[in-house]
Each structure stands twice: as structure tokens, then as C-alpha cells.
């Protein structure tokens, strides 16, 4: 069946079963490989995208449920204020190691900051607990989120 998806502001048609996870539609059908496969069970967060701004595990999201909603991926998140701030902070804090989970980390962090510009450590724990990093970059992820929050606060004042 054909579904129309709004990905990063562009509407694209895909012909797949309605229960196909959004992850595989993005990666294999649309060729947007920035979103990663980690577990297929919403246990690791590597596949995190935004659906209408909320962090969403694309590996367990049927494509039919995303129709008519705004899907944002790592390829497009830099166009949002929070996404751009997080990406810059990730470079400044030298967060990534192997980097495989970082698309998901950045998507989760930017959804957090878009909804909560001044997160506490507890808020960061709650927002990021679903994203695992086998390289153990958590300390720098936390630092990156705090730096991004600061730069967003400065940006909104000016």
C-alpha cells in the first residue's frame, strides 16, 4: 500500500505494508541511513526520530501511524534551533566515540531541549535513560546537553 510521509519537511511516497517499522522505511526505502538500527525492540534508542516533535523509537513505530505527522530525522534536525545547538555542543564537547548511537542521542537530547530549555540532571536522566551508548559517552552527553541549553538561552535573549 502507498503511504505519504512528511520527512524533514518533504512529502515522499512509499509502497510498503502498513505495519512496516518506520525505521526500515527511512533507512532502506528512502535511503536515509543516519537513523540507526540497534535492537528492534525500543530498548536502546539508536533509532530515535521525532514524530510531531516527540522523541519516538522508529523501530517499533508502524509506518501507517506516522502518516500525516511531521517526522524529523538526524538529517533534518539541524534545521531546528534545539537540534543545531545540540549538534554544535556535541562537537564542542567531543561527545562521539564509535558514534553509532549518537544520531539517537542527539534526537533524544534535542527533543528534550525543545520541550524543556533548562533541564535538571534528573530531567536529563529521564529523557536519556532509553538511549544506551556502548562506548560510555554519558558524561559528555550530559555536558553537551548543558552546553546546548546554555547556548539556546543566550540565543533567545539576543
Amino acid at each position: 500500500m502507498t503511504y505519504k510521509l512528511n520527512v524533514n519537511g518533504t512529502v515522499q511516497s512509499v509502497d510498503v505494508d502498513g505495519d512496516t517499522p518506520l525505521l526500515w522505511v527511512l533507512r532502506d526505502v528512502l535511503g536515509m541511513t543516519g537513523t540507526k538500527f540497534g535492537c528492534g525492540q525500543a530498548l536502546c534508542g539508536a533509532c530515535t526520530v521525532h514524530v510531531n516533535g516527540a522523541q519516538t523509537r522508529s523501530c517499533v513505530t508502524p509506518v501507517e501511524s506516522a502518516v500525516g505527522k511531521a517526522i524529523t530525522t538526524i538529517e533534518g534536525v539541524g534545521k531546528t534551533a534545539a537540534g543545531a545547538a545540540v549538534q554544535k555542543a556535541w562537537l564542542d564537547a567531543q561527545v562521539p566515540q564509535c558514534g553509532y548511537c549518537q544520531s539517537g542521542q542527539i534526537m533524544a537530547a534535542s527533543a528534550l531541549l525543545a520541550a524543556n530549555p533548562k533541564p535538571s540532571d534528573r530531567d536529563i536522566d529521564d529523557a536519556m535513560v532509553g538511549n544506551i551508548c556502548r562506548c560510555g559517552t554519558y558524561i559528555r552527553i550530559r555536558q553537551g546537553i548543558k552546553q546546548a541549553a546554555q547556548s539556546l538561552a543566550k540565543g533567545s535573549k539576543s
Binding site: D19, D28, F37, C44, Q87, P96, I124, D125, C135
Partner: protein, 723 residues
């Protein structure tokens, strides 16, 4: 593998590999005629663009920054201007000098192996470029110097960028790498300074290419079910329902596996779930972990190959004031790299092309050649960034599966393991059984130390020439050589290969097991002697061990009072050519559970509050990477030591995914303080050190906090009541 290039030397029970420097400074890399490529690692084009071919793969540990730093230091170019390329499979030029010439990245030896050869490679290129400029200006080369990608002649104020010199440089003879002069350490501009990683721009914007991101015209996507019991076979498969799934194109049957090929992974996975498979489980059908551990324990009752012998342990034990005995054990661990096993393969009539991320390029090429019957040179391998390695990608099994599937598919096919297949068909970190006996004198000082370790030798399978006289250098590292002086010492190794699963290198390799048991037992001896754990170690530790112990202890506030339920533990190690000490601080605290709109206490849990590290790895290349690797190794070690183990029931791995194979999460991350010792020692490894040291530091902290001495990993459920 070219074994004729290797020589093995027996030295104090460990195997040391000799290598010739010229063997690793190969001839020019395949370059266009207009570029200057004095060796296999450096290419400079007429625009001055410097490309560095890195023989060590990037799996997060920072080699795509540290190795270019070594070259850039001597080549005199800004690091940010260097472009990094993956090395192709070719052991003549990209073989690892510390792994007997095998083209492999592992054992924390990239900087150790590259430290001198890569600086020489950079110095060779710089020498020729300076010579080219001097000829152009008709001046003495000694009156010119290189800086920031250019040669300058200070006396006349002339300056030529490297790009303008490549045509002349390419015509000049390349000097012997051994003849060029290297900078003394005090003249380093780049080495030792915190450098920005060269590999992370794409890792934050989604453009970084891992093997799993390969896209080819007309490619298909596949996933696989492998016999759940090792040694089992595919008996039959009913694929009618799978074939009816929209997007499923083909079912591929192998002797012990079945793959579904489709238009996308969603279709392949749905098809796989629809298969009705019958397996012939074979001889391991009833095997359980308890059987394996029982076999291993039985094997450990005999004597083993002697890894280290000093003095007379039996006599010293007989005369000791106190005797302490203990049995330790570590379980099997999975690697669980974030990027699951995958490879894309296109088998044609006369060639084979592979896209993957591997720690062993040449082995991938050789394995594909063997399977397809093609000559090695007809197999092309494209390496990628690795979404985690940790030793998992030192194995070629995932690529072998992809080639087996691709041999039955028309056109390119990408095989991706599900997470469940990745965890259940890993090659696991070996389990071990360790018996200790020590004798203490009247003052509590150890006068006898006996350690018999029993378990699998990975090296015996992975590189058989390294296993000699019942020993290999990896399995005994951290046991045969400890940081301590024991006057009477016996370390024996009993090789015991488990049934029903394969073993492999895992971050921390030999030391990750040995340091846990040795440093836990040392803590027991300190307790038996009634001594402070730091002071007890310090009294018999070698000078570098003492230095890291003192630094970690003082930074951790060792000896300062702690609240009830909180404890500090210490561990020190000498491994991978580096010294490391860690102090862990843990607490047994109320476990909070989100119930009825707020966090409420439900039982207790173990919480790791802080880890303080002191590391002496010799010369520091990139201090930022050292800090990152300490944090990284600690998380990898904590995850495993707290919660993880792979177990078998009815021959099948019981763990399935990140729900039952736990990885430390953001809310559990302790504070980590890293202190780097200013050291003049030889270069040491970094990537695996912290994984080993954190396990005993944690176990010893649990003892301090709870009084429980836990001798078998994982620790968390034994440390506090579950519920």
C-alpha cells in the same frame, strides 16, 4: 597470513614478537601520478591536500585522530588539514607490527605499534619535501625548515606550500626511514595536546558511513536465523507464509541457517518471523552453563602449564604464619556492539566485493576468497567506520554468513543480524575458573602466591603460532606478571575449551579476567592481614604502580570517613604496557521506583558513585582521547561486572536483547575523574585498560560497603538483595 615474516621469541613465559621496521614502512600507496606518496601511509596532492591512510581501524577509540597526529607532528602539517582514509587489505604494508604482521586492530596496541613507524613515515615525507624546495631554491637543505604545510627558507624569506613541491618531491629518492631524525619529545607541538577528533563531524549529522549504511543500486536486504544450538543443522523449513510477505524475494537455505531476502529489512524480518523452521540440535542439545562450568572446575584440579615460577611456593606455604585460599570465577560475556553484525556482499562470476566494518581487513578478504573459490586479488573489501568493535569485529563469522547468502543471490545483498541473533550468535569472552592459595608471614606480607587459571585460549584458535607449550601471552597477561614482588610465586594455566559456544577476544582481553581475580584476591589478603588495602599493595608494588596508586588514592580522598553503606575499593594493574589505578566508591541505597506519580523507595540497590583513575601510559598523544577512553572502558567494565553474563540452557543462549543483557544507562553513570601521570616510559595502550581495572575496584568497594566478598561476576544481585 604470512607466517614466514614472523619470529617468535620465548621470554619469561610470554611470547614476544619481533618485527622489522622496514616491513611496516611500505612503498607508495596507489596514487595518481601527480601526487607525492613516499610510502603507503601518506599522499599529498598538487593542491597540498594531505591524505593519511590509517592501518588501524576506527571503532571509537580515536585512532583516526591519534595516528594522523603522529604523522602530522613530523610532517609539520596542521591536524585539521589531514584527510583520513581506511587502509585497504594488504598485510605487507598495513600488518600490525605487534600482532605478528596480521592486519588487525586490537589489544590496545595501535599507538604502541605506530608510535615510531608513523612518526618516521611523516619525517621521511618532510625530508623529501624540504629537499625538493632546497633544490628549487638552490640552497642547502639544512638551511630550510618545514612548518604548517610549507617549506621555508628563513634567510631569504622564501616559502613554498607542499602542493607546489609534490611534482619535484615525487622524483627524488625516498630515504631509509631509519635514517631520518625524529623530534625529541620536548619539541612536540601536536603530540600531547588535546586534539579535536577527525571522525566526528559525520557522527553528529548522520552522514558517517558504517558498514550497515551501505547503499548500492539494486541491492537486497537479508536477515538470518542460525541454528540456536552450536553444531546443530537445519532440518527443514516451511517458507510458504514467508514467501507470501509483501517485499520478500527469496529464501536462502544453508546447512545450519536460513536467510530471508527482501526489498527492505522490514520485509526480511517479517518473512523470517513467518518461517516454520525445524532444527536438528545435534550433540549440544541438552548442554547448560552448569555443565560447562563443572567441566572447567574438574579440569582445574590438575596441574597446568607453568606461566611463572619464582622460588618455592610449597615450602613458603608450609612455613607461612597464615594461609588464605579462594576460588574465583568469571562468566561468558557478549560484545553487544551497538552496530549489529552486518556485511553487504556482491558475488559475481569472477569477483566478490564486500562492504563492512571490520578489525581484520585481510582476514575478511581471505575468508571470502576461500568460500567463493576466487583468488584473493579478486576479492575487494571496502572498510567503514565501526559501530563498536570490542573484539567482536576481530572475527569474520558475520561476513562469512553474508558471503554464503550472497553466493545464492543475484546482485548485491546486505545481511544484517537482528539484535537477538547478534547476542545469541556471538563468540563470547571466555569464562574462567581461578584457584588461589597465598601464604602470609607474621606481619601479613605475602610470602607465597599460587594462582591456577582454567579457561579458553582465544589466541590458540585465532592465531595458533602464538600458542606454544600450553601457553599464550594474552591469556596469562595480568596473572604471570603482576605489579607486585612475590618472593615465591607459581602461576599455572590449564587450557579448557568449552563445549557449545565459541570464545573470542573481548575488550580488556586476558587482563580483564586476570586483573579482576588478582586484585580481588589481593584485597582479601589485605583484609586477612588487617591492613589498609592501599598501604598493603603499596608495600610490595613496583615504582610505576606505586605512583598511580598514590595519585588515585589521594585524589579519591582515600581514608576519609564515609557514611554508612558507602565504601571505597582500590585496584591497580600493569597491562597493555600501561599502569592504571582506580578507586571506586559505591553505596547501597534505596531503590526508587516511579509509582503513582512519584519516585518511591522499593528495596535497595547498588549505586556506583564515583571512579577515580590514575593512568600512566607513557607518552600522551591526545589527552582528550585518554580521558574519553577511561570513561568508556569504565562503562564497558561496569555494565558487565554489575549485571551481565551469557548462559546456556538446552544448548541455547538464554539472553536475547538489551532487556536481559544490560548496558549501563545514563541514570547509572558515576562521576569519573581521570588523572594522567607525566611519564617518560615507553608508549602503552589505553582502550582496554579501564575495563579491566574497574571490575576489582568495584568488587572491593562492595566489600568495603557491605562486608560481602563476591568472587564470581556479575556482582549486583549478590551485593544487595534483589526485589
Amino acid at each position: 597470513m604470512n607466517t614466514s615474516r614472523r619470529r617468535f621469541l620465548q621470554s619469561s613465559g610470554a611470547l614476544v614478537i619481533a618485527f622489522n621496521l622496514p616491513a611496516v614502512i611500505g612503498p607508495a600507496s596507489a596514487a595518481d601520478e601527480k601526487s607525492f606518496a613516499p610510502n603507503a601511509y601518506i599522499r599529498i596532492d598538487p593542491k597540498g591536500q594531505v591524505s593519511v591512510v590509517v592501518a588501524y581501524v576506527e571503532m571509537g577509540q580515536g585512532t583516526y585522530t591519534s595516528i594522523p597526529m603522529l604523522i602530522a607532528e613530523e610532517l609539520e602539517v596542521p591536524l585539521s588539514s589531514v584527510r583520513v582514509e581506511h587502509a585497504p587489505p594488504d598485510e605487507r604494508y598495513y600488518g600490525n607490527p605487534l600482532l605478528g604482521g596480521i592486519q588487525a586492530t586490537g589489544n590496545s596496541n595501535a599507538v604502541r605499534g605506530a608510535w615510531e613507524p608513523m612518526r618516521r613515515a611523516g619525517a621521511v615525507a618532510r625530508t623529501v619535501l624540504v629537499q625538493a624546495a632546497a633544490q628549487r631554491w638552490k640552497v642547502d637543505a639544512a638551511s630550510c625548515r618545514a612548518e604548517k604545510g610549507a617549506v621555508v627558507h628563513a634567510a631569504s624569506g622564501r616559502r613554498l606550500g607542499y602542493g607546489a613541491l609534490v611534482a619535484d618531491a615525487a622524483k627524488l629518492p625516498v630515504p631509509d626511514p631509519k635514517s631520518v631524525t625524529l623530534k625529541p619529545r620536548e619539541q612536540f607541538k601536536l603530540i600531547g595536546t588535546p586534539a579535536k577528533r577527525l571522525d566526528i563531524d559525520g557522527k553528529v549529522n548522520g552522514t558517517a558511513q558504517y558498514g550497515i549504511d551501505t547503499r548500492l543500486p539494486g541491492m537486497k536486504f537479508a536477515t538470518i536465523a542460525i541454528s540456536p544450538v552450536a553444531g546443530g543443522k537445519l532440518r527443514s523449513v516451511d517458507d510458504a507464509a514467508a514467501k507470501a510477505v509483501n517485499g520478500v524475494r527469496q529464501i536462502v537455505r544453508l546447512d545450519d541457517a536460513v536467510a530471508v531476502v527482501g526489498d527492505h529489512m522490514g520485509a526480511a524480518k517479517k518473512g523470517l518471523a513467518a518461517l516454520k523452521i525445524e532444527w536438528d540440535d545435534g550433540a549440544n542439545a541438552k548442554l547448560s552453563t552448569a555443565d560447562i562450568l563443572r567441566d572447567m572446575e574438574a579440569a582445574s584440579s590438575g596441574s597446568g602449564a607453568i606461566a611463572r615460577q619464582e622460588g618455592d611456593v610449597a615450602k613458603a606455604l608450609a612455613g607461612a604464619a597464615k594461609r588464605v585460599e579462594a576460588v574465583y570465577g568469571v562468566p561468558f560475556f557478549a560484545h553487544a556492539t551497538m552496530e549489529p553484525m552486518n556485511a553487504t556482499v556482491h558475488v559475481r562470476k569472477d569477483s566478490c566485493e564486500i562492504w563492512t566494518g571490520t578489525q581484520v581487513m585481510a582476514r575478511v578478504q581471505a575468508a571470502a576468497a576461500k568460500l567463493t573459490g576466487l583468488p584473493v586479488e579478486k576479492v575487494t573489501v571496502h572498510n567503514h567506520l565501526l559501530g563498536g568493535g570490542f573484539g567482536r569485529r576481530l572475527e569474520v563469522d558475520g561476513v562469512v554468513r553474508a558471503v554464503q547468502v550472497a553466493m545464492q543471490v543475484d546482485g548485491p545483498v546486505k545481511l544484517v543480524y537482528t539484535r537477538e541473533t547478534d547476542i545469541q550468535h556471538d563468540l563470547y569472552k571466555p569464562a574462567f575458573h581461578d584457584r588461589f592459595v597465598a601464604g602470609l608471614d607474621a606481619q601479613g606480607t605475602p610470602v607465597a602466591w599460587s594462582h591456577r587459571l582454567t579457561g579458553s585460549s582465544v589466541l590458540a584458535r585465532w592465531a595458533p603460532p602464538f600458542f606454544q607449550k600450553g601457553l599464550d601471552s594474552d591469556t596469562i597477561e595480568g596473572a604471570a606478571e603482576t605489579p607486585y614482588a612475590f618472593p615465591n610465586m607459581l602461576v599455572e594455566y590449564v587450557q579448557h575449551e568449552p563445549r557449545g559456544l565459541a570464545t573470542a577476544f573481548w575488550r580488556g582481553v586476558g587482563p580483564v579476567h586476570n586483573v579482576f581475580v588478582v586484585e580481588s584476591f589481593m584485597d582479601e589478603l589485605a583484609a586477612a592481614a588487617g591492613k589498609d588495602p592501599v598501604a598493603y599493595r603499596r608495600a610490595i608494588a613496583d615504582p610505576r604502580a606505586k605512583a598511580v596508586l598514590d595519585l588515585a588514592a589521594s585524589k579519591a580522598g582515600w581514608g576519609k570517613p564515609l557514611p554508612k553503606g558507602v565504601g571505597r575499593g582500590v585496584a591497580v594493574q600493569s597491562a597493555f604496557g600501561s599502569y592504571l589505578a582506580q578507586v571506586a566508591e559505591v553505596e547501597v541505597a534505596p531503590r526508587l521506583s516511579w509509582e503513582r506519580g512519584k519516585y518511591r523507595p522499593v528495596g535497595t540497590e547498588l549505586r556506583v558513585r564515583r571512579i577515580v583513575c590514575a593512568i600512566d601510559c607513557g607518552p600522551v598523544v591526545n589527552p582528550d582521547t585518554i580521558r574519553a577512553q577511561m570513561q568508556s572502558g569504565i562503562v564497558y567494565g561496569l555494565s558487565a561486572a554489575l549485571d551481565d553474563q551469557i548462559t546456556l540452557k538446552d544448548g541455547r543462549v538464554e539472553q536475547t536483547n538489551f532487556g536481559d543483557y544490560r548496558v549501563l544507562r545514563m541514570n547509572e553513570m558515576p562521576r569519573v575523574d581521570v588523572h594522567i601521570v607525566d611519564s617518560s616510559a615507553a608508549p602503552g595502550g589505553i582502550g582496554e585498560t579501564a575495563t579491566a581495572c574497574v571490575m576489582p575496584a568495584l568488587a572491593n568497594a562492595i566489600f568495603a560497603a557491605t562486608g560481602k566478598r563476591i568472587r564470581r561476576l556479575p556482582l549486583a544481585d549478590q551485593a544487595v538483595p534483589t526485589g
